[in-house]
Subunit: 571 residues, 2 copies
C-alpha cells in the first residue's frame, strides 16, 4: 500500500496483461467474516463496513494481550526511482506466499488518502496479482478514517479561533498559531489563505490547509496504543504560542476529549483481504517525511497477536522508511522486527548506476553493478539496527540473467541473500521462494534489534548520527536559530524524543539528483517542527510540500460510474 502523494511513485507493472482494476474486479472476494474467522476473530468482535471490510473492536484487541507475538517482517526498499520498485506488491506477495506454505500470515499496509485520487490516475492497493481488495472502496472513503482525522483536526482549529474570538483568555498570539487546517484534497488555492475576515467572524489572521494525511493527528493515530493513550497524545499537541511565547496545547483548549470521540472508531484497525483471500490490515497512512511513514501500531499489534508472520511495509526507501520504522515505531512500542526484505528492481539499480529512464530496457550489467552501491548501503544500514536483511528482486521481462547475477553477488558481498520474485504476474506462487528464505532467515533468530541512537542523546546529535552513519554525510549544518530551537525544545522537555527527518526520498543526500550512494555531503537543516503528540521532532532538510495541487488535467475529469455501476477512471 503506497500512500499516493507527490513524493512517492506507484509501483511499476511488470509484464502487464490485464489492468489492476480488471484483476481486482474479477477476484473471488470472500465475506470479511470468513477472513476474520480464519484469524480466529469472532464476528461479534468485528465491525463490518459492507460485506468485505471490517474494523476490529478495541475490547477484543485488549483481550489478546497475553498471547505471544508472531514474527514481524519489514518490507522496505532501495532509494526510489521514477519507475518504482514494488514494496506494496512484495508485501502482499510475501503474505500470500507464506500462507501458501501453510503459515498463518497477515499483511499490514498503509491506508491511502482519497484526495490525491483526483489528481493522478492510479490506485494504491498493490498491483497485478498482488493486490488488496475491495480496491475501489479502499481508495475511496474506505471506513472513514481520513474523514474522522480531518474532523478532529479541524475541530481543534475551530476551537483555537473560537477561543480567541471569545476573549482569548489564554493569550494566544494569532501570529504564532502553528496548527493549520486540513482537507483530503489536492488544493493549492488553500495553501495560504487569510481567515476571520468580515465583521463578527473572528480575528483576521494568516492560515492555510494541509492535506489530511499530513496532519499530526494521522501520526498520532498510528502511534497510539489505545484510546487513553490517543487522548493523552492529542492533548499534548502544541498548537500555538501565547504573546509571552509559552506553548499552548490542545488540552488547554479542552479539545482532546472531543477529538478522541471523533477518532474512537478510526482507532480500530481495518481488515480486508488479498486477492488470494489472506488477511490484510490497512490502517493509517502518515507521510514518511514529516511523519514516520508506517501503518498503525494498533494494526501491527493486533496482527502480531493473530498471525504467525506479519509482513509490513514502510514508506519511501530504507533511509527514511525503515529508519523511522525502527527508530520511532519499534523504539516506542518495543516491537522486535525479525527480519527485513529490501525490495529492488534491475531497472531501478540501473538508474542508480547512471542509466537514463529511456534506456532501462537495454541490458547493462556494469550499470546494475554500479547501482548496487545503493542497495549495499541500505543493507549495511539495516544491519546497524541488528536486523537481518534479505533482498527481493521484482522481476521484469527485460531483466537478464547476467544483471540478476550482478545483484545476487552484491547482496552476498553484504551478507544478504537475493531472491527473484514474480508475484506481480503470479501472485503468492511467485514469492514462494522468498517466503521460504524469509522463514529460514527469521527462524535462525539472528535479529538483535536496537535503535540507532539512545533517547538521551541530544537532538542535534541524533540528527548527526543518522546523517553520518546512514546517509554517509560528513556533517550536518544549520543556522543559529535552528540550533537554538533544538536547545529550546530540550529545555521544554522534548529532548528525549526521536527525530523524524524530512528530506527527499530520491537520494541519501538532500539533492534528489544524486542517485547511487553519495558520500561526503552535508545535511543542511532548514526548519524544526515539534510533533508533541506524536512524540517526535521533525527535522526538515529540504522543500517539503504538505498540500499538493491538481495537474492541468486532473484524473477527476475522467471519472464516472460505468454502465454496470462500476467506478470508471479511478485506476
Amino acid at each position: 500500500m503506497t500512500a499516493r502523494t507527490n513524493f512517492e511513485k506507484a509501483a511499476v507493472t511488470p509484464s502487464q496483461q490485464r489492468s489492476d482494476i480488471d484483476i481486482a474486479r474479477a477476484a473471488d472476494i470472500r465475506p470479511i467474516a470468513d477472513i476474520g474467522a480464519a484469524l480466529g476473530v469472532p464476528w461479534e468482535a468485528m465491525v463490518p463496513y459492507g460485506h468485505t471490510k471490517a474494523k476490529i473492536g478495541l475490547d477484543y484487541i485488549d483481550s489478546l494481550a497475553d498471547r505471544p507475538d508472531g514474527k514481524l517482517i519489514l518490507v522496505t526498499g532501495i532509494t526510489p526511482t521514477p519507475p518504482g520498485e514494488g514494496k506494496t506488491t512484495t508485501t502482499v506477495g510475501l503474505c500470500d506466499a507464506l500462507n501458501r506454505l501453510g503459515s498463518r500470515a497477515a499483511a499490514c499496509l498503509r491506508e491511502p488518502s482519497l484526495g490525491p485520487c483526483f489528481g493522478m490516475k492510479g490506485g494504491a492497493a498493490g498491483g497485478g496479482q498482488a493486490q488488496v481488495i475491495p480496491m475501489e472502496d479502499i481508495n475511496l472513503h474506505f471506513t472513514g478514517d481520513l474523514h474522522a482525522i480531518g474532523m478532529a483536526h479541524n475541530l481543534l482549529s475551530a476551537l483555537i479561533d473560537n477561543h480567541i474570538h471569545w476573549g482569548n483568555a489564554l493569550g494566544i498570539d494569532p501570529r504564532r498559531i502553528t496548527w493549520r487546517r486540513v482537507m483530503d484534497m489536492n488544493e493549492r488555492a488553500l495553501r495560504e489563505i487569510v481567515v476571520g475576515l468580515g465583521s463578527g467572524n473572528g480575528m483576521p489572521r494568516e492560515d492555510g490547509f494541509d492535506i489530511t494525511a499530513a496532519s499530526e493527528i494521522m501520526a498520532i493515530l498510528c502511534l497510539a496504543n489505545d484510546l487513553d493513550d490517543l487522548q493523552q497524545r492529542l492533548g499534548r499537541i502544541v498548537v500555538a504560542e501565547t504573546f509571552e511565547r509559552t506553548p499552548v496545547t490542545a488540552a488547554e483548549l479542552d479539545a482532546d476529549g472531543a477529538m478522541t470521540v471523533l477518532l474512537k472508531d478510526a482507532l480500530m484497525p481495518n481488515l480486508v483481504q488479498t486477492l488470494e483471500n489472506n488477511p490484510a490490515f490497512i490502517h493509517g497512512g502518515p507521510f514518511a517525511n514529516i511523519a514516520h511513514g508506517c501503518n498503525s501500531v494498533m494494526a501491527t499489534k493486533t496482527a502480531l497477536k493473530l498471525a504467525d508472520y506479519v509482513v509490513t511495509e514502510a514508506g519511501f526507501g530504507a533511509d527514511l522508511g525503515a529508519e523511522k520504522f525502527f527508530d520511532i515505531k519499534c523504539r516506542k512500542t518495543g516491537m522486535q522486527p525479525a527480519g527485513a526484505v529490501v525490495v529492488a528492481t534491475v531497472r531501478a539499480l540501473k538508474m542508480h548506476g547512471g542509466v537514463a529512464l529511456k534506456d532501462l530496457k537495454t541490458e547493462n550489467v556494469a550499470a546494475v553493478r554500479a547501482g548496487c552501491v545503493n542497495l549495499a548501503r541500505h543493507l549495511r544500514n539495516i544491519k546497524l539496527f541488528g536486523v537481518p536483511p534479505i533482498v527481493a528482486i521484482n522481476r521484469f521481462d527485460t531483466d537478464t540473467d547476467a544483471e540478476l547475477s550482478a545483484i545476487r553477488e552484491a547482496g552476498l558481498a553484504h551478507g544478504a541473500e537475493t531472491v527473484i520474485c514474480t508475484h506481480h504476474a503470479d501472485g503468492g506462487r511467485g514469492a514462494e521462494e522468498l517466503a521460504r528464505r524469509v522463514v529460514a532467515l527469521v527462524g535462525r533468530g539472528e535479529a538483535r534489534f536496537k535503535p540507532l541512537y539512545e533517547d538521551d542523546l541530544s537532538l542535534w546529535d541524533k540528527v548527526r548520527t543518522i546523517a553520518t552513519r546512514l546517509y554517509d554525510a560528513d556533517d550536518i549544518v544549520a543556522d543559529k536559530k535552528i540550533v537554538q530551537r533544538f536547545k529550546a525544545l530540550e529545555k521544554a522537555g522534548f529532548g528525549h524524543f526521536p527525530v523524524c527527518i524530512a528530506k527527499t526520498q530520491y537520494s541519501f543526500s538532500t539533492d534528489p539528483t544524486l542517485r547511487g550512494a553519495p558520500s561526503h555531503h552535508t545535511l543542511p537543516i532548514r526548519e524544526v517542527r515539534l510533533s508533541a503528540g506524536a512524540e517526535f521532532v521533525v527535522v526538515v532538510c529540504g522543500e517539503i510540500m504538505t498540500m499538493p495541487g491538481l495537474p492541468r488535467t486532473p484524473a477527476a475529469t475522467d471519472m464516472g460510474i460505468g454502465a454496470k455501476g462500476e467506478v470508471r477512471g479511478l485506476f
Copy 2:
C-alpha cells in the same frame, strides 16, 4: 430527526425522568439484519455499517419499482417556539404506534450533521421513549454521508480554482464564483476568507465556507431519483459566471462524474431502528430555509415500497417545511401524501398567544385559545394542498384539561381532529390513539394532493402566491435588481422551477418576533439564488446564516470517552 442548526430547536422533554442517552443506551437494540428482514429486505441487499446500521443497495431498490406504494403521512408543526414542539418524537412515536397496531410502518427522518454537535449539547435522534438508535453513531459519523457530500462539494471547488490556475479556458471571472467551500463544523473564522495567496498557489480571490448541510449537493442528494439523475443534477450546478456573464456549470468543468463516484454510497438510504425495534430510514438533512428541508427521495421511495405506512417529517413549521415537502418534493416525485399530522404543544400555543417563556407552566386558557390562530392557519394551509390534517398534542405534565380542550375546539373549527400524545414518556403506546385516528383519516381516501401553484407561473407570482395565500401577506416587494434577476432566470430556462423561500421559521412574516398569525405584512425579497442542480430558485427573505459559530463554551470542551468506553458530553 431534527437537523441541529441555529435555526431549529431540539424538542422539549416532557416529564423527563431519565436522560435520552440513558434510555437509548439501555435499549434492547436488534441486529440491523433483523430490522431489514422484517421489511423483507434480504441481507445481501443491505450494506452494513457496524451491526446496527445499514444502507440499502441501489439495485435492490430498483427491483422494487413495480410494487404498490404504502401510505405517506407527513409530520409537520405549528410555527416553532423556543421550547420546541416535538415533530421528531411524534414521527417516531406514530411509527411505533402503527406497528403496535399491527401495521407495517417505517419512519423517514432527516440525518443530523456532525459539526453542530460541538457547539450545543443535544443529540438529534428524537427523545425520551421516542428515539432512533444507535443514537451516538447517528449523531457522529453515522454512515459517512456528510463526509461524502463535503468531499464532492470541495472537489468541485478545487476544480474551479485549478481550472483558473491552468489558463482559465472557460474564462471564469474569479469575482463571480458563487460556489463556496464547505466544512461540517461551526466555523465562523471560515465564513469570509481570501484564498490563493502566495506564489504559485493559484489566483487570489474572496471565498468562504458554509456548513456541509447547507451545500446544494445535500439538496441534490435528497432529490435525486437514482445515480444517473444524481449525476445529471450535479452537472447542472452553476458555480460561477464568465467574464462575459455566462453561467459556468459543474459539467463544463467535467466534475460531475467524479462527484457522482464520491456520492455513490451516500445515495443509498440508511436504515436504523426505533427504540421499539421498528424500521427508521435516516437519510439526508438539507436545511428548510435555503433548501427544501426533507429527508431523501431515495429513502422515502424505498420506505413506501417496503411499508404500508411511511411517517416522515419536514423541517421547521408547516409554512416552510410542509410547503416545500408538497411544492418541491411531492411535485417533483409524484408522491401522493395521504395525510398530515400537525404537531403542537400547549406551551407553544400559549407563546403564540402572547405568554412569556417563564410563564408557560401557569394555566392560561385564553392565551392558548389566542395562540390557536397559528395552528388554525397551518391547518387551513395544509388543506390548500388537498391533504387532510390532524393535530397531535405532545402532552406535558403542566398541561390542563381546559387548555387541551381549547386546542381541540380550535382544531374542530378548522375540520381537524386533535389527539393527545404521550409517546415521549410512553413510547409507541402513548401514540396509539393518534395512530388509530391517522389510519382512519387516510383510510377515508380524502386526500387530493396538488401543489399550491403551477410550474408555468412566473417566479415572481410563485413567491407572491405563497406569501399571500399561506403567510397572509398583502404583497411581496423587491429591488429592481431582484426583479431583473427573476426575469434573467426565466430567460435562462429556469422559470419552471419551484421557489424555495428562505425566511425566519419563527413567524409567518419575516419578523421573528411576530408570533401567532400576522396578516397584512409585506414579504421583502433580499436575494435570489439559483440551485440549478436541486432544481429550485432560493428566494432569500431575511438574514440567512449558512455557517454557524461556536458558543463561548462549546459542547466539545466537555466531551470525552467514559470509563466504559461510552461517549460523554454529546447529549
